[in-house]
């Protein structure tokens, strides 16, 4: 089996390239391999869609968690400020 034929049927390799593509650039050869694979494999096309979805969700999750403020309780904050003040007085 030639190397291009191999990728055509190798979903593990294809999913690896799908992941790499989203975070870095693929080589020309890798781009070609992935395109050939995806043209014939609907399962990996589903995987790619879902992979992109997951990345987007994770990103949104983090952005949202910065809008949503968690708060420390007041007692802990007071202790914290006391420690800082103690430290300042030492100097």
């Amino acid at each position: 089996m030639g190397p291009l034929k191999k990728i055509q049927y190798n979903c593990r390799k294809a999913t690896f390239l799908i992941e790499k593509k989203q975070l870095a650039s693929l080589t020309l050869r890798e781009k070609l391999e992935l395109r050939i694979h995806l043209a014939g494999c609907s399962i990996c096309r589903t995987f790619e869609k879902q992979s992109i979805l997951i990345n987007r969700m994770v990103k949104d999750m983090f952005t949202n968690s910065q809008h949503q403020q968690f708060t420390l309780d007041d007692d802990y904050k007071k202790q914290l400020q006391d420690k800082i003040d103690q430290q300042l007085n030492k100097n």
């Binding site: 049927y9 979903c11 390799k13 870095a24 987007r56 983090f62 708060t71 914290l80 800082i84 300042l88």
Partner: protein, 199 residues
Amino acid sequence: MQAENKDFNITTDLPINPHQWVSRYADYLYTYALSRLTDEELARDLVQETFLAALERADQFKGSSTEKTWLTAILKYKIVDVYRKKSSQFLHSTDSVSAEKQQEDFFDPDDGHWNVPHRPQAFGIEDQDPFTQSEFTHILQLCMKKLPALWLSVFTMKHMDEEDTDAICTALKVTPSNFWVIIHRTKVNLRACLQKNWS
């Protein structure tokens, strides 16, 4: 006049104001740590450590960034430290190994084909705004918590902080090729977990 003013202390000497730190930044830093570590006690401890470390290094604050940015950078460094410790602690032990084992069934070992029971099936929400599906986000969070420590560290640093790949490799002591293996495995695993728990 200025030469006589010898009794200035740390707070007037430097462009920082530690007396205000807790009221200004504690909640922000806590939120920052919590979103990356999902461990309330640890997040709390790191906020404290950050303030104390900042006091010790107060003379290094040059005023080229804001106080908030400076404190966040110190906290971030501490979080990476936690990642590193957790990852090396588990590097050779059960969690990565069992997660890898779990994946052996996903693909045919010879030709790399999806094995039939593990083939990705549509979730049905691929084309919608994921945030209309808060249940789905919740499952995603649970699935992330099940990841091996090293995988989660790599994944979080890359996606949350958009760190440079080389920087992640250095911080967590993984090779670049292993980095991509981990990124791939993490996603395959997360996707499978979502499919299993979303119905």
